[in-house]
């Protein structure tokens, strides 16, 4: 069953098109990573899915409903980010109680155990938490709610590395115990690679790539060697990235359309073949130019 179906979705603010004829769909009970540069439209998309804002044109359907003002969608989903707000007079334990009253699948023991694990004081107040603690607390709510559609928009903002690791692990474990549809947008793709099943890559508000994580790992390949030698190999495929390393050595990332033998051949020609991790690949795919930051510092 398709939990989310998005067709030609466009969202414009004044003259800028943040989402541009975006089309994709997400299946039930999968963890999808939503990846893209800042300003690619990730948060905007997620907020439309959650029913917070409306699209300018196009169709968005969540659980076969229009999410804006849908009580059904709201009851079956939760949107977690660092801006999640709660009334200031409520203490943390009261917020957990409130969440429990709203979400039918809420698991209080899980929430309490996570709460204690991350050393929260039940009598503390949400607006007094540090940035990292806020994200952690919000994420606990997101997890324990066990909403059929759980959306995490950069949930690890401000978290230190140890907490991030714990969070991903907790997410995975609970997802396995209690499957649901999860969308996780993050800047740290390398941290969540092992967590994700699918990746939706946004560039300029468009669906740039929507594949499984396995496909993404095999999507591109890195060639390193002499420029002329590389030229041969890269002319028949898309070059995502090119960078001058030594005086005559070039590193290029290209779409992997090669068979095993062809790659062996390349190796024979003194070209170094490396895998491209999804994180780097996404950076290259969404880059504006073929080069990198180094070009800024090239002597002119």
């Amino acid at each position: 069953m398709k939990v989310i179906e998005c067709t030609d979705l466009t969202k414009s603010y004044l003259r800028k098109r943040v989402l541009d004829q975006l089309t994709f769909s997400i299946e039930e009970n999968k963890i999808t990573g939503l990846i893209g540069r800042n300003g690619a439209g990730k948060t905007t998309l997620l907020k439309i899915i959650a029913g917070y804002i409306k699209q300018t044109s196009g169709e968005m359907s969540v659980f076969s409903q229009k999410p804006f003002n849908s009580l059904l969608v709201s009851a079956h989903s939760i949107f977690v980010d660092d801006q999640m707000s709660f009334p200031s007079p409520l203490q943390l334990h009261e917020i957990l109680d409130a969440a429990g009253s709203f979400y039918p699948n809420w698991n209080m023991p899980l929430a309490k155990r996570l709460f204690d694990y991350f050393s929260f004081d039940p009598k503390h107040y949400h607006n007094r938490l540090s940035k990292g603690k806020t994200s952690t607390f919000n994420s606990i709510i997101g997890l324990a709610a066990r909403a059929p559609l759980t959306i995490f928009d950069e949930p690890t903002t401000g978290m230190d590395a140890a907490v991030r690791k714990d969070f991903y692990r907790a997410l995975l474990k609970d997802y396995l115990a209690y499957p649901r549809t999860i969308i996780l947008s993050s800047h740290h793709l390398e941290e969540i690679e092992d967590l994700l099943e699918d990746v939706l890559l946004l560039k300029d508000g468009k669906n740039h790539l929507h594949v499984s994580i396995e496909e993404l790992k095999e999507w591109a390949i890195g060639f390193k060697g002499a420029e002329e030698a590389l030229m041969n190999w890269t002319k028949d495929t898309k070059v995502y990235y090119k960078n001058q390393i030594g005086r005559n050595t070039v590193y290029a990332v290209v779409k992997n359309v090669f068979s095993e033998q062809e790659l062996q051949q390349a190796k024979a020609e003194n070209i170094e073949i490396t895998a491209v991790c999804p994180s780097d690949l996404c950076i290259y795919l969404t880059g504006e130019t073929k080069g990198g930051i180094d070009d800024v510092f090239v002597d002119r």
Binding site: K47, A75, P148
Partner: protein, 249 residues
């Protein structure tokens, strides 16, 4: 995964209970405002004097009029507050849509009005006692009439309705301001402007006539109907405007 059916009434009820806890600050400010109003009432809420025949008489009246008036202002402010962004956004951390959000707000405002109206009327007792114990109210002469429960009930119902009505106006104003910041200036300008216009045209100000429509109504039943319909209109208008508003932008 099969989807559970969602009951709007259930959600509204849960939200209402949530808001009672979340807006507890409003109730503490109710207490302070009423105490302040009682303080202001200690000098008498109205006075009358006459000087005739060498006999100079001055009368001071005591009642909880001031407390009711202050509570009405409190109702207005509370209603405006819950239309502001932070408060509207709270609902979206959990389960809601814009209609349940407003419905639970309305029920909350009604509850607050009941509490405010009843305490305001009861404040008269506190006023008497404070005056009697601390302020040398031996001058206080009482009617030999006994305390009429029926009168008190009528007064309380009217007080609650007034507060609820004014809170619906506050909700409406708050909503307008959310639609466009211009209304912060626009509404007072409109109000004062219409009074100017009426003054120039030498006719009774609209505001006066509108107030009289409610304050001069002597039949409790008709008053209830008037307030009910007016309040419903204000809330309906607010809901329809809020229903299209984006949140968490």
């Amino acid at each position: 995964m099969s989807l559970l059916t969602v009951n709007t009434a259930e959600i509204v009820k849960k939200q209402f209970l949530f808001k009672l806890k979340a807006n507890i600050d409003a109730f503490s400010s109710l207490v302070w405002i009423q105490l302040l109003a009682i303080l202001f009432s200690l000098g008498g809420v109205a006075s009358q004097g006459s000087h005739s025949d060498g006999l100079s008489i001055s009368i001071k009246y005591f009642s909880s009029d001031v407390v009711i008036a202050f509570t009405m202002i409190w109702g207005l402010v509370t209603a405006i507050t819950i239309t502001t962004r932070p408060y509207r956004y709270f609902d979206f951390s959990f389960v809601t849509n814009r209609i349940t959000s407003s419905l639970s707000n309305i029920i909350y405002l009604f509850t607050a009005s009941v509490l405010g109206g009843v305490t305001a009327m009861l404040a008269k007792g506190l006023l008497i006692i404070i005056g009697y114990l601390f302020l040398d109210f031996q001058l206080l002469d009482f009617y030999s009439q006994s305390f009429h429960v029926r009168d008190f009930m009528i007064g309380t119902i009217a007080a609650v309705l007034y507060i609820f009505f004014i809170s619906s106006i506050g909700y409406f104003i708050g909503t307008l301001v959310q639609v466009s910041r211009l209304f912060i200036v626009g509404i007072p300008v409109l109000f004062i402007g219409s009074m100017f216009l009426d003054g120039m045209m030498q006719r009774e100000p609209m505001a006066m006539k509108t107030l009289q429509f409610y304050f001069m109504e002597t039949s409790l039943f008709i008053f209830i109907v008037k307030v009910f319909i007016s309040t419903a209109l204000f809330f309906a208008a607010s809901i329809s405007m809020l229903n299209r508003m984006e949140v968490r932008k």
